[in-house]
Amino acid sequence: MILSPGAILRVGLLLLLAVVLQLSGLSQLSILGGHIDLVVLVVAAVAYYGGSVSGCATGFAAGFLLDLMSGATMGVSSLVLTAVGYGVGRFREVRDPSHGLLPLGVGAAATGGFLVGFAAVSFMLDVGASVSPLVIRDAIVTVLLNTLLALPVFTATRRLLRPALRVDPLEVRRRRRPPRETGPLGLRGLEV
């Protein structure tokens, strides 16, 4: 991603919107015990389209904002989301994926990673009480909900970041399509 002031502003606004939506609305919507985790999806989407550097920077900023506004222990979300953003960004850089449905898997993996990482850090820090097995059920529901929401979030993020993207995976996919075989027989394969 081209780190222009406009791109940084867009990502900043996107994160702010995501955090506000998360805290004011989505966290209060319990669906089958779980809830949508929009911030993770946004971080994953930015990392997916922007790469690992943008991903870990976005993850840190999102975590910082989230902890700041929610009153949670500062640094926990930042640490985990930094790792999530970096991981998704590296996946994008190494595998160079272009399948249209990949955001589903990326969203699910990012959410799962965030939940596991957050639980691990929380355990290491200050959770001394026994934990109900229902946490696992809720985590699974959250992963499923985020998987369902991944495509629209990724699409919206892509549209928002498109001017600042060095490489758009959808464009790459379009370029990889085989040439259309049209026209007279002698001209097939010449993309006439």
Binding site: G25, L68, M74, A83
Partner: protein, 304 residues
């Protein structure tokens, strides 16, 4: 090929942000509630509070919508649970009510046996009604005791009243008309074929009690002799023979209470209405008097 500079930059970025996070975490965790980061967090929360409040209000309809959907699902589950609970409680209530009803009727029968004028030495056998005549005449029932329990044809049958706690503890219900090994059929006193020699207590007027067919709460006492009958007096079996055959009902079994007296124009003939003590509409438990009392007085049945 990867550009080393890019790789270094990427790793450095990661290291910086991770280090920043850990530093933030350590600092926040290590400081007191009034420390810099805590104060910064409080300040930020205050600053963002209006935005969060506005967003919360704006998103309330969405939350309500999801909440409504969730509540609907919960309500459905709750409804299922409550339905199961209601079914269970209904079954328990039915059991309890059945037990209560049985106890009430048994209490009535026990009270009847302890009555002063009730014939002694009759060896009552308690039986449960297992079948009932489906017609509105309430003319016969089937009980779960038969010849193997000592039940024989023509033995008198008693039933509890509708309210054993009141003075009307029960009374004559009918007689056994057929017996098998384990069951017996009882023809009730409301059947048109039944007639019972009766006596009004304490005036001593005698007559024959016959049913008013179709109304199990009304019996008629006819051929009344021996004095004027008044309302609310008790009518019991007289033990008199009114037929050539063997008398059936021992003296002293209560039949009912005089509810009305019709006089003809010359006030000679009385037509007495009785309300039977036995609750003939809903009998569940009866007693069959399997032995004749020691006294010789018995009443008979009119053969139609």
């Amino acid at each position: 090929m990867y550009d080393r500079k890019v790789v270094r930059r990427r790793r450095a970025t990661l290291a910086v942000f991770v280090a920043l996070s850990i530093a933030l975490l350590t600092a926040y965790f290590g400081e007191s509630g009034g420390g810099f980061f805590h104060a910064f967090q409080r300040g930020a929360q205050e600053a963002f509070a209006p935005i969060e409040t506005g967003a919360s209000r704006a998103l309330k309809p969405v939350r309500d919508l999801f909440g409504w959907a969730g509540d609907t699902f919960d309500a459905k589950d709750e409804n299922k649970d409550l339905k199961r609970e209601v079914e269970r409680l209904r079954a328990a209530l039915a059991d309890a009510q059945t037990a209560q009803r049985d106890a009430t009727q048994l209490k009535g029968l026990v009270g009847l046996g302890e009555d002063e004028g009730f014939p002694r030495g009759t060896e009552p056998v308690t039986a449960r009604v297992i079948a009932r005549s489906p017609t509105v005449w309430y003319s016969s029932i089937k009980i779960d005791k038969g010849s193997s329990d000592g039940v024989k044809v023509d033995q008198p049958v008693l039933a509890a009243g509708s309210d054993p706690d009141a003075s009307e503890v029960g009374g004559l219900a009918g007689k056994v008309t057929s017996v098998s090994g384990g069951t017996a059929e009882v023809t009730l006193i409301t059947d048109a074929s039944i007639g019972v020699a009766a006596q009004v207590m304490p005036s001593g007027a005698t007559g024959v009690v016959r049913p008013a067919v179709g109304n199990p709460r009304d019996l008629l006492m006819e051929f009344v002799e021996g004095g004027r009958v008044t309302e609310n007096t008790t009518v019991a079996t007289s033990g008199f023979t009114i037929d050539k055959g063997q008398s059936l009902f021992p003296r002293g079994i209560p039949i009912g209470r005089v509810s009305d007296v019709d006089l003809d124009e010359v006030e000679i003939y009385q037509r007495v209405h009785l309300e039977p003590y036995a609750d003939l509409k809903s009998i569940d438990i009866v007693q069959v008097l399997t032995r004749r009392p020691r006294t010789s007085q018995t009443a008979g049945v009119i053969v139609p």
